[in-house]
Symmetry: C2
Subunit: 423 residues, 2 copies
């Protein structure tokens, strides 16, 4: 019985690697003051059909449930977020800084960096039109990757603007209703031969050369300049490049857009997002009209990049070793001491320590082997010296006798509270 194509089993080591990414995401997002929300894995199909463009509808795991409802496993979060914000907008102070770490499902062709399920961090800021919000969103995105020990040499945020392209298009006489078609041509312009782009642009009186010239200009527009200045004040300017080749496929972006790529260009985009100031109004039939911006970052491409960058890989491995290690392995010298060993194990666990011990009778040597195998920091022998135990620190081989009370205070140092005296 095999698992489905494009789906993953997470054996303990795989699960720890997944959790490393999910925990890093949560930690950094919270550090930025984002708060977590979540929605249902299954939603009414109509929720996804409503969203302008509906690009993902053809890739859905959708079906009719036992109550005759057309439902779909979530392929993205924005429609759910829009529904939730519209429902309770007044309960929250603006701007909202919300994040979630959902698993998504898309029936796609499998390839490197693309499965049929994946996790994706979503960060959104809702209710703030100022460029400081764009900078804050891009800053958290950069720090999410920095927290994985990825640096300026490993990735770049390619920053662009739908507004810039809108202005370019308007200046040559383009009509707003043709914008989306024009963006689609721009999106493909670097990948197609110029003749094809020329042919597609002819109806707008434009040439590939004009479009590519604007695309390759590196000057920040008035919209992008304050965002770059903000990021530079944070010391994050080196992670960002203006790149008008980024226009993003989805129809609903209205201003700043960006994508993150590895510098080596070996992978698909690590993340992408932008402003969608009109989407909440559209999704809520005008009920909620708030400026908004957000991005998504998937786990699959990020895991590939971490694998390829030695510093990132080393940090992951150090984390995995810590994650794996138990604090104490209690060794039972004789079965007659099992009740005392059980009581000690309980005390250690009650103190918050990660403690394990042999469930079945085993020879001393084998128990110490198990302690090593589990990466235990300390092995504690419950034997003839009871009520003292022999504590062995496995890394140093140092041994000492201790009472259970001493053992507990050795292993659980008191926390120092932060005291801020008045001045």
């Amino acid at each position: 019985m095999q698992l489905l194509p494009g789906f993953r089993d997470f054996f303990p080591d795989d699960c720890a690697r997944r959790n490393y990414i999910l925990e890093t995401w949560r930690t950094v997002a919270r550090r930025y003051g984002f708060v977590e929300y979540d929605g249902p894995v299954l939603e009414p199909m109509a929720l996804y059909e409503k969203k302008s463009g509906g690009e993902l509808v053809g890739q859905l795991f959708d079906f009719t449930d036992k109550g005759d409802r057309h439902v779909a496993m979530r392929p993205e979060m924005t429609p759910t977020l829009a529904r939730m914000v519209a429902a309770r907008e007044r309960d929250f102070k603006k701007p909202l800084k919300w994040f979630c770490v959902p698993q998504f499902f898309r029936y796609e062709k499998q390839q490197r960096g693309r499965l049929r399920e994946f996790y994706q961090l979503n960060c959104d800021i809702i209710g703030e039109a100022s460029p400081a919000a764009d900078a804050e969103l891009i800053a958290v995105l950069i720090d999410l990757l920095r927290a994985c020990a990825l640096g300026e040499r490993d990735f770049v945020v390619r920053l662009s603007s739908r507004t810039a392209w809108q202005e370019f298009f308007a200046q040559v006489g383009g009509r707003p209703e043709d914008e989306y078609e024009f963006f689609q041509i721009v999106d493909k312009a670097e990948r197609l031969p110029p003749e094809k782009t020329d042919a597609a642009l002819a109806k707008f009186g434009l040439t590939a050369q004009q479009v590519l010239a604007f695309m390759h200009s590196k000057a920040a527009t008035a919209e992008l300049a304050p965002i770059l200045a903000d990021l530079t004040a944070r010391g994050l300017g080196g992670f960002v490049e203006i790149d008008y080749a980024i226009v993003r496929g989805l129809a609903y972006y209205t201003g700043v857009v960006f994508e993150v790529f590895d510098r080596g260009k070996n992978e698909r985009a690590l993340a992408g997002g932008g402003r969608y100031d009109k989407l909440l109004s559209l999704m809520s039939d005008g009920q909620t009209d708030l400026p908004a911006l957000g991005f998504g970052m998937g786990d699959v491409v990020l895991a590939n990049l971490i694998h390829d960058v030695p510093a990132a890989q080393a940090q992951l491995h150090a984390w995995l070793a810590r994650e794996r290690a138990v604090d104490v392995y209690v060794v039972i010298a004789h079965e007659t001491r099992r009740p005392e060993a059980l009581a000690l194990v309980q005390r250690l666990r009650d103190a918050g320590l990660r403690a394990d011990f042999p469930l079945a009778t085993a020879k001393l040597g084998k128990q110490f082997q198990t302690a090593e195998h589990l990466g235990a920091r300390h092995a504690v022998l419950v034997g003839d010296e009871w009520p003292q135990v022999k504590v062995k620190t496995l890394a140093t081989r140092a041994e000492r006798l201790a009472s259970p009370d001493e053992l507990l205070s050795l292993l659980t140092p008191p926390k120092i509270p932060v005291i801020l005296s008045g001045a």
Copy 2:
């Protein structure tokens, strides 16, 4: 656009309450040396049809995918676990102590404590036949609830044994192939009038009185006595009662079975599980033959009980307040100081602190209000004293001037490493 019946939106406060339960589960399971695994949300339908009994097949969210595969959203974990263990059994030292915190999907009638999606902690021990494993599993179950500030007065583990009922049945001449039918009658005996039970038992030459007499005996069998002794040595004996009324509905249990209920009997079962020594062999067509035991604990009933027990509720609220609070809110006295404020925010976040600040220009009073609203521990004013900042501890109103370096060292006390000197 409403969400589907039986599904939940997790607004930030709901999400934090959910995370409290999921984090407590993870923390306690890891304290016991369990390691986390996970599997796909979507599985081949045949995986669930294969399992003996197939009790859940009628409640599945199942459908045909775009590749013409009959698939189902997971209603439980055991079939996935069995597949995974069979695939890589030799890679792991026995016993395996594995846990996961999956979300499950069942098309059921909604009622108190029952939705169409829910989270469930699963803990399993695989490859250990000794009663020490049963005790370890029940101990972690008890400590999961103790960690939610629930005590002996709040819940009880009702411990029983399929083996005891098998022996009872065999002694009155029952045949092994009739056992499951007999268990189903026993399962309902307390809820049905004795005449109905008498009628159902007649074919086995038994009466309701005989069954109820055995059911209400409180003596531990030879199988259960060492488990109770083990739990008593841990100081956990008071959480467990022998109760032969527990037989568990599912067909695959082979020995010890148990369920956990609130003492007030207001809720559905908080958790249930037992030994399933033959299931792995059955699921893997004989490839993997390991004794095994496990339990599941759902989030919905647990959340209800936490809500009803004041101490548990108080601990949850303290956790929520900590979870919600940012460490520092940076107040910007004049917009000219924004670059310095941004640099400071970046330093605070790089140091692992949770820091926030105003994205838009706002008056000082409003910024301090936002700091209070976010539950900030400290407000830090970047203004005329720069390069010094004014640090205000919001709980005490204490204020002092500090340089950014001083602020950092005030807020991030050094960690004390555990040093164990040789003796």
